[in-house]
């Protein structure tokens, strides 16, 4: 029996997810331009695997398969997880990443809309803990040609020593550990570019452009990216102002690692994130703070993934405590 409303806006989950995929394209283009087409191989692999796993799990759960595959949510998860891990990981790492994110982090909790944790970040964290070496091999900009990348992806786990350079965040962390100042670390390493890591600053710009598409199409609201960027800039800027020899600049923090991907595509996952306007601000700012703390003082070069998972845990509390006032109940309501 159908009841009112009888008319609906032509909107669908598929359209939302499709917009996200389109918005990822500028960043992806920059990625290919700077680091070679190897990422496309993993991306294709991840997408096919995601669809296959989604279909398999839905069948096992006796749920409609076509609807779930058609909504493109699995492909979005696959893209995000592949873009978060190094582009030259062996094919089975990609496969594992997709299995963990979709099979475990999403469907074990009840499928789309039910997962408390960001699936892509669950997979990232699991893999960086399980395969720290493979997950830290990032190619430098323009360092590897497509054949070499293909060889690394399909040839199994090999140490591509001498071909990959440490990323900017990694180099900074190692440099600081050895007692050098930020300036000397920067000047002595080819990993650093104009703002962030060499080449990565372009990718970051591409993601930011995609983020504007998402904002323009109202797939995301300004709260999450704004709070994330502002918090990262403020906290890193504060320490940078206090001691620029020991702390990198806010610009460096924003342009390196996964900061822009996170700001517009990772922390904006609606399912596992906060939903109220104030809650979104707290949620994204919390992630930025944790990410900066781990970058500056932790054992891992980047901490966004851990920040996301830690803040995911807080979402029910954040949402509960930040319910916006209801029509007619403004003022007296908390």
């Amino acid at each position: 029996m159908i009841h009112s409303p009888y008319i609906r806006k032509p909107a669908s989950v598929q359209r939302v997810m499709g917009t996200v995929l389109v918005a990822l394209l500028p960043g992806l283009a920059a990625y290919v331009w700077q680091f070679g087409a190897g990422i496309l191989v993993n991306l294709a692999l991840g997408s096919v695997a995601a669809i296959a796993i989604e279909a398999l799990v839905m069948r096992l759960r006796k749920r409609p398969v076509a609807l779930a595959v058609g909504d493109l949510s699995a492909v979005v998860t696959a893209w995000l997880v592949v873009l978060s891990i190094p582009p030259i990981v062996p094919w089975w790492i990609t496969l594992l990443a997709v299995i963990i994110s979709i099979g475990a982090a999403k469907h074990l909790y009840g499928g789309l809309g039910q997962n408390p944790f960001n699936p892509a970040m669950v997979a990232f964290c699991a893999l960086i803990v399980a395969y720290p070496a493979l997950m830290s091999q990032w190619p430098g900009a323009g360092q590897l040609d497509f054949a070499a990348q293909l060889d690394l992806i399909l040839g199994g786990a090999r140490q591509p020593d001498g071909i990959t350079a440490a990323t900017a965040l990694d180099a900074l962390r190692t440099g600081m550990r050895s007692g050098a100042s930020v300036g000397t670390v920067f000047s002595g390493n080819s990993a650093f570019g104009m703002a962030g890591g060499r080449g990565w600053e372009w990718v970051a710009a591409g993601y930011a452009l995609g983020g504007l598409i998402l904002l323009g199409t109202r797939v995301i609201t300004w709260h999450l990216p704004a709070a994330f960027i502002a918090m990262l800039a403020v906290v890193s800027g504060l320490f940078w102002l206090i001691d620029p020899t020991q702390h990198a600049s806010p610009l460096f923090h924003l342009a390196s690692g996964g900061a822009m991907l996170a700001a517009f595509f990772i922390v904006t996952d609606p399912v596992s994130g906060a939903t109220t306007p104030r809650g979104k601000l707290i949620f994204a700012a919390g992630i930025a703070l944790i990410a900066w703390l781990i970058r500056s003082f932790g054992a891992y070069p980047d901490g966004i993934a851990f920040g996301v998972l830690l803040m995911n845990i807080c979402v029910p509390l954040i949402d509960m405590k930040t319910q916006p006032p209801v029509f007619g109940h403004r003022g007296g309501h908390s």
Partner: protein, 183 residues
Amino acid sequence: MLSALLVMTGIAIVLGAALGYAAIRFKVEGDPLVEKIDAILPQTQCGQCGYPGCKPYAEAIAQGAAEINQCPPGGEEGIRKLADLLGREFKPLSEEHGVEKPKSVAVIDEQTCIGCTLCIQACPVDAIVGAAKQMHTVVDKLCTGCELCVAPCPVDCITMTPIPETVENWKWKYPVVELRRVA
């Protein structure tokens, strides 16, 4: 070593005092469990559970003397609520105590009624009006549907009539999620 012991002892004394104070300060009056159980029971006072009314049954449950599945008017939902409240396992309604029926009220056939007052005496909630030798009638707003008046009637003029659905008590149905249709 000694200082550690002293510190631990000190902590124990402070915490103990705090707990003791809390126990006095926040003392719970009466037996709220019985009240809570009683609030879940449907208050038909029908005695199908084997106790003379809902309150005695609630007391029996609280003491562990009775099972939670002896109340047919409360039905499965009532048992679930009791199971939730008491942290016990859900059990299907015990058959010896009766079956769940649609909510009904007693109706007296006024042509047959001889005015014997037996039903008036049986009604646990005084929902039947009438006097000796006068026709009786059930105030259906007050009737709990306990059926206690049915057996005493010497002329069998009382029937249980299910409460009809009207625009006032009609309920919107739970939206059906059609998962299989698209499978």
